[in-house]
Amino acid sequence: MKFLRQHTSLWLSLAVLLVMGLWPIITGNALERETMFTVLRSVALASSLNILLGYTGYVSFGHVVFFGLGGYVGFYLIAARHWSLWTAILAGGAAAGLLAYLVGSAILRLRGAYFALATIGVNEAVRAFINNFEPFGGPTGMTMNFKVYKAYGGAGAALELSFYILVALTILVVLISYWVRTSKFGLGLLAIREDEDAAEIMGVVAPSAKTWAYVLSAVIPGMIGALFFFKNGTIEPGLAFPLHTSIEMIVMIMLGGQGTVFGPILGAAGYEFLRDALLVSPFFKNMQLAISGVLLLIIVLFIPRGLVGWLRQRSAKVRRWLI
């Protein structure tokens, strides 16, 4: 019982993910599975970014670059080098992690808005580079030969397999996120968020801690990129590096509550369900972007801590078990 009570947030998060993961089996509906795929992808991306943004306090406006790069590397290895999906996913994650390590060691020296600008620059530079990189198909991108899916039991089975891989990856992110939040390493990150200079004086090795937080937040988006574009069947620069996806990730985190484990899950799911509802309504369909904007503005201006943060602020009891 004590074990259960000690980690309420983790159990709550895992329970929510489990319901989402089993939802297609419960309903037995392939369409539901595709909807849930989008939701889980957002949950995983938002939870990953939260390690950097929420715990460390560094705002990455170009986080989608890791998703896109992982996607391109994975796609290339499967389509042109005939690697299996499993190794391609690992390679996508490794490529994203490597980029994060190299770029992070340099740009994490910048603080505040300068860092945010640099991440936009990195995203645009990588996108522009891949636009010109012939092995990756340049501006037209690449398409998957349909025969590739045969090895996974046909296209339908490949879709189903992708979904369960995503469920596993999402659970992995949440475990990592919870570990970071409760570990000594994470405590160092939280200290950096509050006051970086003070943290360094107290013995936190800020440059290396920040870089590892950046790498941790990049690896899973890279793996998901490889998985997503395997399932998608085509890849092109516009699909892989959309700046607005980076910002949607931030919106989801803000909605749920930055710096908490459960917040990004709640925020991502809430955002996706809301967008679905807006998209099917004939009146709001064209105004979807504007409505998301109004929503974001309201959150930023009036509830900057997000839903979980707001609940935590309201009562000490909640604060004890919900992180």
Binding site: R109, L117, A125, A128, N131, I247, M287, V294, L296, L297
Partner: protein, 285 residues
């Protein structure tokens, strides 16, 4: 040789217009430490404003730019009052997201109203010969207007009472407040000025390039690059930054395919942020 000269002049003329856009961004950053992520959509609004004043009401495009500038100033002050003022002292994430939310609202409404198909201000003044290069007259005038606006802004900030207030708030907001400068109004006005510059540059671009409601984001990214080149917060620097970017855009296509230009620009951008975050010409001015 002629080709190089032509590209160089083309790039320089365009550079002045880019410089004006970047000046708007950097002015807002310099005065209140806010990166305005709605900059691109405000540039696009400037384009559409000129388009509708010209095509709908038959107003001469350069007169339309004057109206556009006034509307830009007012819109900027409105945006500041609604979206920025409440979070002006909050961490950077809040102001970045608040201005991005404004961006989403403008683009969302704009897409619903104008769709994303291209528009074109049907306006031509022929071309003129500079040295041995032939350039469209509209571009030459755009560069002249940009210089005029930049010079006017400089004089305004340097010599007018309001300009002195703005510089006081830039240097030290609390101290300015103590000696009686109404800092909130000055911040709103500065945000309006930045927006005005964005709208003017959009209006100028609309006289020679076709555009869509989404076209602004490309110019916003250019403004970031220029702003960082010239030093964020340094208004004069951003004019030079604009010229440098213009020259790069003019000359790079001679050496390699045009599509490599953005790669060079953004690599340069990140490198300058790393090596000299205060820009080539120093920081706040």
């Amino acid at each position: 040789m002629d080709a190089i000269l032509r590209s160089l002049i083309d790039g320089l003329l365009l550079g002045f217009v880019y410089g004006i856009a970047a000046m708007g961004l950097t002015l807002i950053w310099g005065v209140m430490n806010v990166i305005n992520l709605s900059h691109g959509s405000l540039i696009a609004l400037g384009m559409f404003s000129v388009y509708f004043l010209f095509t709908g009401l038959g107003i001469h495009p350069y007169l339309a730019i004057v109206f556009t500038a006034v509307m830009g100033l007012l819109l900027g002050m409105l945006i500041y009052a609604i979206a920025v003022h409440r979070v002006i002292n909050a961490p950077h994430l809040s102001t970045l997201l608040a201005t991005y939310a404004v961006n989403m609202i403008i683009l969302g409404v704009g897409t619903a109203a104008f769709t994303t198909s291209p528009y074109n201000v049907d306006f031509d003044l022929g071309s003129v010969k500079i040295a041995s290069a032939v350039v469209p007259t509209t571009r030459l005038i755009a560069a002249l207007v940009a210089m005029l606006v930049a010079g006017g802004l400089y004089l305004f900030l340097k010599y007018s009472r309001l300009g002195r207030y703005i510089r006081a708030v830039t240097d030290n907001r609390d101290a300015a407040e103590i000696v009686g400068v109404p800092s909130s109004q000055i911040l709103a006005f500065s945000f309006g000025l930045g927006t005005m510059l964005a709208a003017i540059s959009g209006g100028l671009i609309a006289t020679f390039f076709p555009f869509t409601i989404l076209a602004g984001s490309a110019y916003e990214l250019k403004s970031f690059v220029i702003g960082v080149l010239g030093g964020l917060g340094n208004a004069v620097g951003s004019l030079f930054g604009g010229l440098i970017l213009g020259v790069i855009e003019g000359l790079v296509p001679m050496a390699m395919p045009t599509t490599w230009t953005p790669v060079l620009e953004f690599v340069l951008f990140v490198l300058i942020l790393l090596v000299r975050p205060t820009g080539l010409f120093g920081g706040n001015e």
